[in-house]
């Protein structure tokens, strides 16, 4: 196991975490909710891709696009049905609701697809050689596409009108409304965008790990959430950095310590970050005014 090999593998899984973490971070930034159901969106993305491909044998790119679309709509739908009615109630209720939605999606998947794992064929077959080592195309494509998406997202948030609206709503909903921004649409868009990214992450995840099951979103989502917290929740570049850090930490733990302990290391990072700097690497500290 060379360091380079571990680093590149870390970057690959880290890119996936980063894509998911972006969803957590954007949603948190805009509605101050830890969207527990986000991990399950990944699972839905994976199952919809698998289902479309195995049932209707459509080309992979179309299946991936469909899965992104399904997840985006699902994300918006969940927000409208479950979160919007609670927008002004206390945070605890919102968090409990998110946990409920997460459990619901997971158990529905179990009902429809059973708890047995399904096999998923890698749509990026083949390998590339970097230095001495061979890497699967899935690895390189994941890293490349994720990078492009993250750059695109940064530009979207920084340069476009909807991006400006997102930033305004996350600062102050009332004021944003007064400025003529449609807060509901902006929140919907954020959920759609985050869920779409989760679907992309799902596609990459399935190509590398080839197995999907109803509970897959839980741990993946949690780790991505850890990445979001590490980077500073609410911060988009933070989510990217956090994702990559967690991916690399996990890969190094696997390589040098023990693959059994990766989960413990990831949650250990979470606890250390929360205790030392709860606002994360790039987050802003918020104090309650007395």
């Amino acid at each position: 196991m060379t360091l380079l090999y571990l680093m590149i593998n870390g970057l690959q899984i880290g890119s996936i975490y980063a894509l998911v973490a972006l969803g957590y971070s954007m949603v948190y930034g805009i509605v101050k909710l830890v969207n527990f159901a986000h991990g399950e969106i990944i699972m839905v993305g994976a199952y919809s891709m698998w289902y479309v491909m195995s049932r209707f044998s459509v080309p992979a790119w179309l299946a991936a696009a469909l899965s992104v679309a399904i997840c985006s709509v699902l994300g918006m739908f969940i927000e409208k049905i479950a979160y919007k009615p609670l927008r002004n109630s206390d945070r605890l209720s919102l968090l409990v609701t998110a946990i409920g939605v997460s459990l619901l999606l997971q158990n529905l998947a179990q009902l429809f697809f059973t708890a047995n794992p399904r096999m998923f064929t890698n749509i990026f077959a083949g390998t590339v050689t970097i230095g001495e080592r061979q890497f699967s195309n899935a690895t390189t494509v994941t890293i490349a596409v994720s990078t492009i998406i993250m750059i695109g997202l940064t530009l979207l948030v920084k340069r476009t009108k909807i991006g400006k609206a997102m930033r305004a709503v996350s600062e102050d909903k009332e004021t944003a409304t007064l400025m003529g921004i449609n807060v509901n649409n902006t929140i919907s868009f954020t959920f759609a965008l985050g869920s779409g990214l989760a679907a992309v992450a799902a596609v990459f995840y399935c190509c590398s790990y080839s197995q999907i099951q109803p509970t897959m979103g839980g741990m993946l989502g949690l780790k991505a959430f850890v990445a979001a917290v590490l980077g500073g929740i609410g911060s988009i570049p933070g989510a990217m950095i956090g994702g990559l850090c967690i991916g690399i930490a996990e890969s190094l733990t696997k390589g040098y310590i023990s693959s059994k302990l990766t989960d413990a290391v990831v949650f250990g990072i979470l606890i250390v970050v929360l205790l030392i700097k709860p606002s994360g690497i790039l987050g802003r500290r918020q104090n309650e005014k007395v």
Partner: protein, 337 residues
């Protein structure tokens, strides 16, 4: 107020009589076969679900902080109790209570150790960090030798009986109910209401947060001990986040901040899935739908903290007296303060 004060002995005896009476009724139903063997066995999971829900309510409902690792404390207490009883060889009626006490102490110690750093955080962050701790506990138990690793523990004495569960439920309800209605409980509740104002009113908030966490974890540990000695096996995979979430559903459905609600809800949600055995596949789907629906349509839960917990009657004591006076109505939950 002096009239109420004078009635204390009366209230005590009333409670003692109803606790003993309910026990007699349950035993009579089992002996005469009105409750069949299977139904009688249902009483045990009802019991530890009550303990789990009431103890989680202490932190989620009264302290107002949502821990997501309650199953972690349950497993710690369960393993500790099981390891104790497996290494000791004492008569059953001495061994089980000692094992449960060990479960309480070890789980409470974990609660304190985890609580002290975690409680520097609030709200979502606290929820997440406890979830993290819960997962770490699970991973560690999976990788330790003396806990049996992934195989868990087998051959734990089957010592949990309806009687022991009943005793534990009564003790839990009494202690947590009494705690909530004292100055210490009011201090815990004031933190939920407004931490800054609580601190300004002279409440040492850090102490009371840690206290609530410790006591809550301790009773989860007792439930774990009962569970271990009921199934006679401990399997680390049954204490994940899902289990914590199930307990949360019970508490939320019953009403955050209502002990009475937790008891009712624990009974209902333990019996319901069994009653609908044909639908066992749908159990968690129904649970999660319930959770979302309750949050949207009645966030205060079935019993709502306003009727029972907050205001002046936090432990549901008065309602129980009222129920008893109006013809033995609401005595179905045993115990109380």
């Amino acid at each position: 107020m002096s009239a109420l004060f004078k009635s204390n002995p009366f209230r005590y005896s009333l409670n003692a009589v109803s606790v003993a009476g309910l026990y007699a009724v349950i035993m009579f139903l089992i002996e005469t076969g009105v409750l069949n063997r299977y139904q009688a066995l249902m009483l045990i999971p009802i019991g530890f679900n009550i303990i789990l829900a009431v103890s989680l309510n202490l932190t989620a409902g009264f302290l107002g902080q949502l821990p997501l690792g309650h199953a972690g404390f349950m497993s710690v207490g369960g393993y500790a109790a099981a390891l104790f009883s497996m290494s000791a060889s004492l008569p059953t009626n001495v061994e089980l209570p000692l094992a449960l006490a060990v479960g309480w102490i070890v789980a409470a110690a974990f609660g304190l150790v985890i609580g002290l750093p975690a409680l520097r955080l609030k709200g979502d962050y606290l929820a997440i960090i406890t979830l993290g701790f819960g997962e770490i506990i699970r991973v560690i138990i999976l990788n330790l030798k003396f806990t049996g690793g992934a195989y868990g523990l087998k051959g734990i004495g089957r010592q949990t009986t309806v009687t022991w569960v009943y005793i534990c439920v009564v003790i839990t309800l009494f202690i947590i109910g009494a705690l909530i209605k004292s100055r210490h409980g009011r201090a815990i509740i004031s933190i939920r209401e407004d931490e800054i104002a609580a601190e300004a009113s002279g409440i040492p908030t850090t102490y009371y947060k840690a206290l609530a966490f410790t006591v809550s974890a301790g009773f989860a540990g007792v439930a774990g001990g009962l569970y271990a000695h009921y199934l006679s096996i401990m399997d680390p995979s049954s204490f994940g986040f899902m289990r914590s979430a199930e307990i949360l559903v019970i508490v939320v459905l019953g009403g955050l901040g209502s002990i009475f609600g937790s008891v009712v809800s624990a009974i209902a949600l333990t019996i319901l899935p069994e009653a609908l055995r044909g639908f066992s596949d749908y159990r968690m789907v129904i649970y999660s739908l319930l959770l979302v629906a309750v949050m949207i349509f009645k966030p205060s839960g079935l019993c709502g903290r306003y009727e029972f917990s907050l205001g002046d009657t936090i432990d549901g004591l008065c309602s129980r007296i009222r129920g008893a006076l109006s013809g033995k109505g609401g005595g179905g939950d045993g115990g109380g303060s």
